[in-house]
Symmetry: D3
Subunit: 224 residues, 6 copies
């Protein structure tokens, strides 16, 4: 199962992807039934990035970034690289040269359950990365992995072409097949939240907006 590169993948509709980016991680996660989140150990290297794109998946051996080069050829504008090491690792698989190459091909960012380096350059380039660690440790090019096969990354399963949504809250995966439906749910949720936000800002309490008082009383909540 190693040494496979899937060249052709299906992607979600660009407008769907754009819509999911606008909704953001928390809303999308809720909209698809609270699934798809990557573990909280993946943090952005700088604040404020908010992207969505199609996943180019990379399964790579620990400390070996050869497959990133292989994956790069398959990147199309709007894609996001996602790298899952085959065993826990925090080496710096990715730095400014790879970011230059990726950005030149229209890649929107990198999700990596390992380390990243040259973060000052990446920040200046505005190439966003969500990583487990910032670590300059160099990697080698000695062993095969796979590209665009399904991977498990930081507690989620991702197939090539799934939609990745990432912002300051972390990373969420939306399966390609359900991306449109999830977007619809997310936008509906946003609409509902807009109204609630206005009422909350005006001083109404969630206790009243959501009619919680009676239920709480029945469950035994005691005010003293």
């Amino acid at each position: 199962m190693t040494g496979i590169v899937v060249q052709t993948i299906a992607r979600a509709d660009p407008s769907t992807i754009a819509g999911l980016a606008a909704c953001g991680v928390a809303t999308v996660h809720e909209a698809q039934g609270r699934t798809g989140l990557l573990a909280s150990r993946l943090r952005p290297i700088y604040a404020g990035a908010r992207i969505a794109g199609s996943a180019i998946t990379i399964a790579a051996p620990p400390g070996d970034n050869w497959m990133v080069h292989v994956a790069m050829e398959l990147v199309q504008p709007g894609d996001i690289l996602l790298l899952a090491p085959t065993s826990p690792c925090e080496d710096g698989y990715f730095g400014d040269l790879l970011a230059t190459s990726a950005q030149g091909r229209g890649c929107r960012g990198l999700i990596i359950d390992a380390g990243v380096r040259d973060v000052r350059d990446l920040t200046e380039m505005r190439f966003p990365v969500w990583a487990k660690a910032v670590f300059a440790q160099g990697t080698i090019k000695a062993s095969l992995g796979s590209v665009n096969v399904p991977v498990l990354c930081a507690g989620a399963r991702i197939e090539a072409g799934d939609v990745i949504v990432a912002d300051d809250d972390g990373v969420c995966i939306v399966p390609r097949a359900t991306a449109d439906a999830v977007l619809a749910q997310a936008q509906a949720r946003e609409a509902r939240e807009g109204e609630k936000r206005a009422r909350l800002a005006a001083g109404e309490l969630g206790l009243d907006i959501y009619s919680m008082r009676e239920t709480l009383r029945k469950m035994g909540l005691r005010y003293v």
Copy 2:
């Protein structure tokens, strides 16, 4: 001991609270005999916030944020919400809607030994949060906890109405009963530090300012 909401709590004097905020976490921690610090895993979601306020305490089950709504009704201007889960948890109990509600009621911020989400919105709103994790994982509203009972949070004990001081260094708790005395100590310490800072800036050494040389020599320190 669960399912209790204490409605009326005593608070420290607003000027005392303001004074403690101005002193900051490190000074206040020193001034009360190096006690009251919460564990270093609680980090601010953005740099630069510096607050103090009266604690509204929340004991909540893992993954259940119902009690935050209950607590919100009790928030008065100048209060700070503090949530301690009853077992370790990093779910995202709190996001932009709750922050809108809290800010509308004059709440100065949130301390939570669990996760927070919508951190981009919270940053833009300038609603500061000190949390164990940034994580979008949603929570439910199914079980009771308690509000304004004493809680243990990240290694410290807090009673409702105690003064919470929080800045880039973390979080420190000052019991309400001793807040005035601690403030006096903290301000005295600041005064002393001001003079020392000037001498140190002028090039004097701590070795001389604190007369350490003789003691070090007696203890056996050898210069080679």
Copy 3:
């Protein structure tokens, strides 16, 4: 082996040190054969600092910062303090007073495998620190350690006068004796990278620049 202060140390040439700072951690780490990195748990308290300097090493007992005062007297302009606790500790050994003293003596920053406090002040002063934790916990002055002896810190070995390079990627140690040679290697590497960066930015692939395709094919990589 405790209670020793080495007063006179050799330092690398200032221009070598300046050159290493300009190259940065990742390049220097590569240039010396991927050695010298400190563990990724050491993170800068603010983004953007990029320094190099001569190490003043401090071995200190857990929770005791007395030796920092002893070390301060030995700081010369361009030096960097590096503190390794003798057992794991995250207390706040260093704050704004010590930073004032250090900055006044021309110290460029602090590397500490423990905690730091007053980070807001340090950030405003632009005194950079790479630390394991931000924690206000106070320390005492009761026990001896040593200054300018070889120490093990966060997975690396450092001798007084070795060159410390630190930036947003972390911290790297260059032995004084090889600093010139490492700088030459690092600058050569930078030159090579500049050309590659241009080709990558122009759309060439690493697969082609590094002639990887044939090797990958022979190793069995299969495109499907």
Copy 4:
């Protein structure tokens, strides 16, 4: 996607399962191309257990063990319960009463990416558990999860009816569809290893058995 209980699942052949148990985790992991391992944080509560069985999967909310009761009804002799919390949790979902029930139904053990309690009783009963933590923290029965749906647990994906292999080395998952083929590979590997073990025990070196010397020389290994 929550609140689903799949009642009928396919299982692998009992003799295949028995064969995989005999091979053990490390061999099975190798035999299926180094896939299927759960994270090393899952440790057995006592040494020496070595089991394989069909997975009954449980997705449970943090701190809520209700679905374990639902799953119990579906256990058939030879099955193994596997519980994945929907967000990180270390509460004690499982203790001696549930173990009594499980053992009475022929359940061979429990895999849980959370906590377990009553471990002294479980050890005496010889009911093996691989868990993230030993923690007595009680759980509630308030929210739905799902049973026998695909879950992600400690870095692996498991479907109901997949074969779980667990021993002192940890836990490995073998998809039901490939269990026979994996067993064949595992047994072939064991046969090969038997011969190698004899040669190694007799003093031959791996360097010679695997003919590594020439390759190492060509790669530049230098004996000094």
Copy 5:
């Protein structure tokens, strides 16, 4: 608040303490409303110990075990030492000499949110310890702490004379004032559990014993 030794403390009734030991950590934790557990990082150095006793509390600086000697004088037969460092530490505060002293005075064991050493000797002596780490790192005797003052240890609050219950599941604290009531609850719970255990062993399901089916159906659980 440092440098205090409280010489006279009240203890719970010996028969109450013995009863709590027999119930064990999980049952006692449940019986007092799921409170009092210490964090799961505290693990026994050997399996099978099951003790209860009156707490002699020690607040000690990091890496300084002087107060253990002070506490030893106050140990009475049936007591348990509990040490909370004033900041996170894993040094080996306690070894075979102190265990010899403690055992000679009738001390039943040690709870320590730090390190322990000489664990082979302690195991042979059957002197049980629940610790955060096994670590040989030596400690000093240079600074004061306090004995028999209230401490926060691994997430719980303990006063001198409170009852400590410890077994393979970890450690639970029962306030002295409520020890009799908690014991009564714990024994009642055990009686109830005995009957349930028999029914579960006979093959009845928790679903039926606890009448869960109807509630689950109403909440929307779907069998497919």
Copy 6:
């Protein structure tokens, strides 16, 4: 600096090594001024092993155990293998085949700041291992490392031929050059401890044996 194998190393005297094994980790650590300990994350795979031997050091890339085979040829009876990965890794570098080979050559055990597998077999063979993790994850043989060069492992520095002491308390390194002196100190310490142990067992207090009372009083300890 990679790809070096040092074939001839000096070793300490066998009787010195045997003496250090008898003293154990805690005593040896104290005897050499509280230095030489490896981090507490290295734990034995079974209790009761107590060994000392000469270090055969291995620097290995993450996930690559090729150099273990190279090192094996250099093992002489009484040696201990010590493996330090060049970046953090928990893969299972070592299992029963390598242990068979090692044991056949008189190797006394393995120290590894990474993972080990086949721990049931190793336990039955009584081949002791101190490791960071038990993890079955397989490794490859693709890249060079070095053998018998100085390495940094889990916080300590080790040269080939240094004496490794390991028991249930962890691992301690004694430089070969000082092994005799350290043994003498350790044995003297043991003699002193024997007398103290007898007095403590007889009920004397450390407060009196070490004459601490007066110092404590002067420092301000207050009995209340």
